[in-house]
């Protein structure tokens, strides 16, 4: 079964990559964050296909490599919807498909303000072996991952997650604050978490020449995230916390590369997380699908 999963996941990744190579693309102006969100949604009709990896060290157990693929679609200028597929490899154990997520982000205000809110709603259907650490909430700690894949995968998790994203752009800097509440629908308490981020392009002016290595194509920053306990025990006690520099490189070909070394800030956190990701934005995806089914747009 494990080898079958591995083959299917590889096939999935290969097919997704192939699909990325074919259609037209536009220069993305993507933020560098892995965990935090800013208030910018996907442009309407565009599809972004993303692959992300997280390598993590594990105290008293096997290190792991978790990965996910995202399909992010701009339904309207005020609504972005995303579908995720998650998997992981725990070294000396196995590779697993760990579940899927469906995420929606809504922009309630028509205009740009000093602080811009975005509402986030996500449904997760995953098993207990999920290790992508796309968010940290409640009392998620390093030792949760000591359970073997064979055991952890038996736990099925249906979770709803809500976020309030507050983001500002000031003198080229983006500052964002995400507050998160999540609930496992199988009678667990509400859990809380947060993510903070700050980032800025290396140059604010665009070059008059087409270039790949121009400073405006690089966006650097930092993000910090962690759990805040649950309804019964709110606070930092027995939670994990991380600090991670982030860097994104938006290539003129439409590809974006991201990298982020993350560091655990307490003994409940994984000591080190190495994240990287690659994505490509496909413009006019919605119109083309519409045409495919006989639509006019």
């Amino acid at each position: 079964m494990a080898s079958l999963c591995r083959i299917v996941l590889l096939a999935f990744f290969f097919l997704s990559l192939l699909s990325v190579f074919l259609p037209p693309a536009a220069l993305a102006q993507e933020n560098p964050y892995f965990v935090a969100y800013d208030h910018y949604l996907e442009e309407p009709g565009n599809l972004e296909i993303e692959y992300f990896s997280t390598f993590g060290t594990q105290r008293g157990g096997n290190n792991f490599h978790a990965f996910w693929t995202e399909f992010e679609y701009g339904a309207t200028a005020w609504w972005t919807t995303e579908f995720y597929l998650d998997g992981q490899t725990t070294f000396n154990e196995s590779t697993l498909f760990t579940g899927f997520r469906w995420e929606n982000r809504f922009r309630p205000l028509k205009r740009e303000h000093f602080i811009n809110p975005v509402l986030y709603v996500e449904y997760e259907n995953k098993n207990g072996a999920d290790k992508i650490l796309k968010e940290v909430e409640g009392h998620d700690v390093d030792s949760d991952f000591l359970i073997s894949n064979a055991e952890a995968r038996k736990e099925h998790i249906h979770e709803v997650e809500l976020k309030l994203i507050l983001s500002s752009t000031f003198k080229g800097w983006n500052f964002t604050e995400n507050t998160l509440v999540g609930k496992n629908l199988s009678n667990s308490p509400w859990e809380f978490g947060y993510a903070l981020g700050a980032s800025r392009p290396l140059s604010l002016k665009a070059s008059a020449k087409r270039c790949t290595l121009c400073p405006q194509n690089f966006i650097g920053g930092v993000e910090m995230y962690g759990g805040l306990g649950d309804r019964r025990s709110f606070g930092l006690h027995n939670t994990s916390q991380y600090l991670a520099p982030v860097l994104a490189w938006n290539l003129p070909s439409g590809w974006t590369l991201r990298i982020s070394p993350g560091f655990g800030l307490n003994d409940n956190s994984h000591r080190f997380l190495m994240r990287w990701g690659v994505s490509r934005e496909i413009t006019g995806f919605g119109s083309m699908v519409s045409r495919l089914f006989g639509g006019q747009q």
């Binding site: 097919l15 699909s19 074919l22 910018y40 200028a77 119109s287």
Partner: protein, 156 residues
């Protein structure tokens, strides 16, 4: 096992759709640079710019490279909807129209910053302020309707 099959089906669908899309990509764009006619009401958003925003002057007005940089930015971020020569497309109006060309740089900058979210124009404040001003310089440099067949490459 069921989930794995679903994952494979989803990815295969994406592949199939992508192939078809790649075949049909060019049929979306008007063949010439001739301006498309739009209901003047569509430009009413420009009038909603506050007085203070409208009066802002372009800090890159005298930057000799601003138009060229703006042309590249336009191609990367705006041409998909507004057309390669800003003549307008199915999704967004011409930027060569008198309503746009007659608007102040500050009003155009305000629209870029705030978008017209309910009508499909995204917020572009994710582009740093100097890049939005470079775009304004380029848009204002377009003048009237484009001659037939004009491409962005023939712009500054």
């Amino acid at each position: 096992m069921k989930v794995v099959v679903v994952a494979l089906a989803v990815s295969t669908s994406f592949l199939a759709v992508s192939v078809v899309l790649a075949q049909s990509r060019n049929s979306d764009t008007p063949a010439t640079g001739a301006a498309t006619q739009y209901d003047p009401a569509i430009y009413a958003e420009l009038q909603k710019a506050p007085e203070k925003a409208r009066k802002r002057t372009n800090p890159l007005q005298n930057d000799p490279e601003a138009v060229a940089a703006g042309a590249i930015l336009f191609e990367q971020h705006c041409a998909e909807c507004h057309g390669d020569a800003a003549q307008g497309g199915k999704k967004a109006p011409s930027l060569r129209a008198v309503e746009v060309q007659g608007a102040t740089p500050g009003a155009i900058f305000w629209i870029l910053t705030n978008g017209v979210v309910r009508k499909g124009m995204p917020v572009w404040s994710k582009l740093p302020e100097p890049q939005r001003w470079q775009l304004v310089r380029y848009i204002k440099s377009l003048g009237g309707p484009a001659p037939a067949g004009e491409s962005p490459a023939s712009k500054p």
